[in-house]
Symmetry: C2
Subunit: 235 residues, 2 copies
């Protein structure tokens, strides 16, 4: 349970990596904070076959830091520094890796340990979640089971993915505000399965935003808007 590398700074954002031992396996993580400090925190869940420092996630972290919100991410099961080989773009390998890596229960335990670590180091602060696709496969269970999560940006995932049954079972337990993104022409996660998962969310404060385009074509205005949304509910 330690910081594993010296802090680096880029454009006012300080980045620091950490490594945790959770139930006998290693969980590598990264923490970003504005140089001036942060009184709020968002957990960032990366997409399938990517990793905790994939470019778009770092972009979201920088947007958050520019508003005085810290961010953190960990590699999911079998991803990033936990991967044995390259997963780049291989959806079959992704599904196998997710399952062999322990699936939903492992993800919940890993993220709880990571948030425990960051809170022990930096103090407990109002906390949100941001994660699409596999970032929702991780984030919906975390949001449903960890009462520290006050608001979540989810989406690009449905009832039929590798942990679809878990998601449909846990969705009614989500009680915080949720914005849920759907790509109308999603070629990986069928639109109807996304709508089904959104429908199952238990919170009364949920909003679906649907836009044309494929899985990876989320408009930049939705990314910027998602940071506005988290900022609003973490205030």
């Amino acid at each position: 349970m330690t910081w594993s590398a010296p802090a680096t700074e880029s454009e006012g954002t300080i980045e620091r990596e950490f490594s945790l031992d959770v139930d006998g396996h290693r969980v590598p993580g990264v923490y970003w904070t504005p140089a001036a400090g942060a009184d709020r925190l968002v957990m960032l869940g990366h997409g399938g076959t990517t990793h905790k420092k994939v470019e778009y996630l770092v972009g979201v972290a920088q947007l958050l830091c520019s508003r005085g919100i810290a961010a953190m991410a960990i590699d999911g099961p079998g991803h990033g520094d936990r991967a044995e080989g390259s997963l780049a773009g291989d959806l079959n390998a992704f599904q196998r890796t997710w399952t062999e890596g322990g699936g939903t229960p492992t993800v919940i335990a890993d993220w709880r340990a990571a948030l425990d670590f960051v809170e022990a180091q930096e103090g407990a602060r109002p906390t949100g979640w941001w994660g699409l696709s596999m970032g929702t496969m991780m984030g919906l269970p975390v949001t449903a089971s960890d009462e520290r999560v006050r608001v979540a940006l989810l989406g690009l995932m449905g009832s039929g993915g590798p942990n679809g049954e878990d998601l449909m079972r846990l969705a009614p337990e989500v009680s915080c505000p949720v914005r849920f993104l759907v790509q109308w022409d999603d070629e990986i996660v069928p639109r109807d399965s996304c709508l089904e998962l959104f429908s199952a969310l238990g919170t009364a404060k949920k909003t679906l935003h649907g836009n044309p385009g494929k899985h990876q074509d989320v408009p930049q205005f939705e990314v910027a808007g998602s940071v506005d949304y988290l900022d609003h509910y973490l205030k």
Copy 2:
């Protein structure tokens, strides 16, 4: 084709009614403008069984005027000052009235004449549409057929309403940015029919916003957000 009543002013918004003769029938309208003047315009379509000055529409007009955007509305076929009896909340009477009033072609002609009149009086300005439910039954055909409409806020309507076939036929011709609101638990217009109409819109710049609740439960943040949206695209 004249202003039919003296202007009145309330909280910086000037309201003025007008009356047009269109193809032999009377079209009563209302125009709102900020006292300081406006360089943009939004047409407001009222919902079924209501009228051009229903409370929520006046609220949207005031929000627009506070940003320097003028607004206008007319009574739809058989509605408001064109009604022979009261329609209040009577959906069967609404459907009959819509059809007997001439339906889609009459609505397109009425709105075109109304915009012609206001442009003749006040000059041509960047113009948008705001209308839900019957406001979309009117607004989608107007947006599809009048190139002066640059952006539209639509929603709460689907492929199966009184002019559903017209809407599905004209939707591919809509080419301007559209935000489309859906109430997830709509008891009047089935959600799936709304999603079908959204899917049929031809524009690449379309966004669907879905929220829990019944037909009339559109959240206030969506109303405020819709004015932000029109403001953005009319700049």
